[in-house]
């Protein structure tokens, strides 16, 4: 059963319904049995009375032979139901005194004399009607001496049983279906109620991701039967978190450890005088520096929950970031500009993280915009920052992938590690902000960030 029915609620309902069905059958069966027992003993008593009645009407005739003399109404009654109600009477010598039908007369002739103890019997498919009879044979005393009296009645005259059952159905059994229905509803409701904490646990479980590995399933209110599972899952999560943290710490430590030698290499290269090869080497080291910075940034975003609840002035922030990156743009023969709102634009967030995001977007734009063109950063009064370049733009098929870690567009110079936009996305997510990519006007790519205003 458990293999087919996976829902606890349904399973309990089905099982309870089956139980109620069996119980109802047993109750009805028991009722029928006891009703027929009652009906049987009533019928037996009636047969016995009738036998005594018949014996009372037997007297000796003029030849000193026993003879049945029924009063006219009784005689009429017996002959009206001649095949339903049969009887036969024998005297003490076994001679037939009277038989209601010839078949019963012929049959009783083959029977031994009756005893004073009543003997009940059944006749199966007897007589011309081929009906079942139940009857009694008993020895009774009469004015004509001891007699053997047999009385039988077509059985199946169980109207009594029917009426008892009818009474039962109408008086008592009607409340069974509503009772069963209420019981089933109660069972389903109780199952649902006791599983509610598990639903809460499921909701919590679906919120667990790489950024929220410290979350655990709530153990309070969980039914004791399900508690071991929840506890075991929490323990498993704990072990996974440990592994995850080790992994993260490794990334952060590795990047951190790389930084000191890189600083030394950078400083040493700076002190060298040299040719084009040295310049190329410096560029390469600068790229490596950038990569290590980004790796650290990713590791930090992964491991620390960003406090994004402070008021941040987007305009001031953009002014600082654009200003600090201006020399980078100029040295690459590109320019950069800040447009839009000329007054404070307050949003809720983390200034350092938003600055990081903007820096990455600008770096990305500077890498794609052609020489002598301008990267435009625009701050909107509604809490938006956009960064637009004049490069080739981002094709529709690439757009879903650009925020993935280490993703790089086809045919793009292997300039970055593909971490910049992933970092932007992480920061946007931590702020509950949104980012959209579109075509720039008249060309290029445009990124729009929308923050919650403070």
């Amino acid at each position: 059963m458990s293999r087919r029915i996976r829902s606890l609620q349904l399973r309990l309902t089905v099982e309870l319904a089956a139980l109620f069905l069996v119980a109802s059958c047993l109750a009805v069966g028991g009722l029928i049995y006891s009703a027929s027992v009652t009906a049987g003993s009533l019928a037996d008593r009636e047969l016995g009375l009738r036998a005594e009645d018949l014996a009372g009407y037997v007297s000796l005739d003029e030849n000193q032979r026993p003879r049945l003399e029924l009063p006219p109404p009784l005689k009429q009654a017996y002959s009206a139901a001649a095949q339903q109600s049969v009887f036969a009477i024998r005297d003490k010598d076994g001679h037939l005194v009277e038989a209601s039908t010839s078949e019963i007369g012929a049959m009783i002739a083959r029977w031994p004399q009756a005893d004073s103890e009543p003997r009940y019997f059944r006749l199966i498919k007897f007589g011309p009607l081929e009906q079942d009879y139940s009857g009694v044979s008993i020895r009774l005393d009469s004015t004509a001496g001891p007699l053997s009296v047999l009385v039988a009645e077509v059985s199946g005259g169980n109207q009594l049983v029917h009426s008892i059952l009818r009474e039962f159905v109408f008086d008592i059994a009607w409340y069974v279906p509503p009772f069963v229905a209420v019981a089933l509803l109660l069972a389903a409701y109780s199952v649902r109620r006791s599983l509610l904490p598990l639903r809460a646990a499921s909701a919590r479980a679906s919120a667990i991701g790489p950024g929220s590995i410290a979350l655990r399933l709530p153990e309070a209110d969980v039914p004791t039967e399900a508690l071991p599972l929840v506890v075991a899952v929490n323990h498993a999560l704990g072990r996974l978190e440990q592994g995850f943290l080790i992994q993260r710490r490794f990334t952060a430590n590795a990047a951190h450890e790389l930084r000191t030698p890189l600083t030394i290499i950078t400083a040493r290269l700076d002190t060298l005088e040299g040719n084009g090869q040295l310049l190329a080497l410096r560029e390469e080291v600068a790229r490596m520096n950038r990569l290590v910075e980004q790796l650290l940034c990713v590791a930090r975003l992964d491991s620390v929950t960003l406090d994004a609840s402070s008021p941040v002035d987007l305009h001031q922030l953009a002014e600082e970031v654009v200003g600090s990156m201006a020399h980078l743009a100029l040295s690459a023969s590109r320019s950069i500009a800040l447009t839009g709102a000329d007054h404070p634009v307050l949003v809720t967030g983390n200034a350092a993280a938003i600055a990081d995001a903007l820096r990455n977007l600008i770096e990305n734009a500077l890498a794609h915009t052609p020489p002598e063109s301008e990267v435009v950063v625009e701050v909107g009064p509604e809490g938006t920052i956009s960064v637009q370049d004049s490069g080739p733009g981002i094709s529709a098929e690439d757009r879903p992938h650009i925020f993935e870690r280490f993703w790089r567009g086809k045919g793009v110079r292997a300039n970055g590690a593909g971490l910049g936009l992933a970092i932007v996305m992480e920061i946007v997510r931590a702020h509950g902000a949104s980012i959209t990519v579109s075509d720039g006007t008249p060309r290029g790519a445009r990124f729009d960030l929308l923050f919650r205003t403070a």
Partner: protein
């Protein structure tokens, strides 16, 4: 001129010492917060370079202790890029400038020189950028050795730019600096002064160029060869 470099990484402090020594500084190295505290107490340095990540304590503690002891020497802090909070805390604790690691040696030298040229700094009052020299006391500008006449406002602007050579000078800073000079009641807006300055620099054959960063400010940079 005597500098204190507070840096626990021997190889890095070695490079710093030799490079700064080459251009005429006497450099002492302190490898720990404790050594730094003692050195700052004993010797009147002209400037200090402080790495915030020290093995025996927070570099910030060294900074606050020095300031509390009344040391007014310019201090430049070195921080990791990811420790933004450190940077802010450092400036709040009385640092004069900061550089993020890894840094270019030329940048470090330029920053140290800029600090020493501040009012009260030991490097005197002459600013140099390319073939342009500005005597900040005599208010005299020479380009390639030839004096160039500029208005007070233009001198103030070029001074700010030369102090922050190669770095952005925000409009707001210029506006603030010009606010005190109100020789002309209805003064020209800054872009007009910049325009005029550019023409002057160009005409005198300066190897400098003023770049406009729209919406932010200006950068004075050497003309590319």
């Amino acid at each position: 001129m005597r500098l204190l470099v507070i840096e626990d990484e021997d190889r890095l402090s070695g490079i710093l010492k030799s490079k700064l020594g080459e251009i005429g500084f006497t450099v002492d190295i302190a490898g720990s917060a404790e050594d730094a505290g003692i050195a700052l107490e004993l010797i009147n340095y002209d400037a200090a370079v402080l790495d915030l990540g020290l093995p025996d304590g927070d570099g910030l503690a060294v900074l606050t202790a020095a300031r509390r002891a009344g040391k007014a020497l310019p201090i430049l802090i070195l921080t990791a890029r990811d420790a933004v909070e450190d940077r802010v805390a450092g400036l709040n604790a009385g640092a004069d400038d900061y550089l993020t690691k890894p840094f270019a040696m030329t940048e470090l030298v330029a920053r140290i020189k800029a600090l020493l040229r501040r009012p009260g700094g030991v490097l005197g009052m002459t600013l140099e950028a390319g073939n342009v020299r500005l005597d900040t006391v005599g208010r005299e500008l020479t380009i390639g050795g030839m004096p160039v006449r500029l208005s007070r406002r233009e001198l103030a602007i070029i001074e700010q730019m030369m102090r922050r050579f190669g770095r952005i000078v925000p409009k707001s800073v210029l506006e603030e600096k010009l606010y005190g000079i109100d020789e002309e009641p209805d003064s020209n807006p800054i872009p007009v002064h910049i325009h005029h300055l550019r023409r002057q620099l160009d005409a005198a054959g300066a190897h400098l160029m003023i770049h406009t960063i729209r919406g932010v400010g200006y950068i004075l940079a050497e003309t590319k060869a």
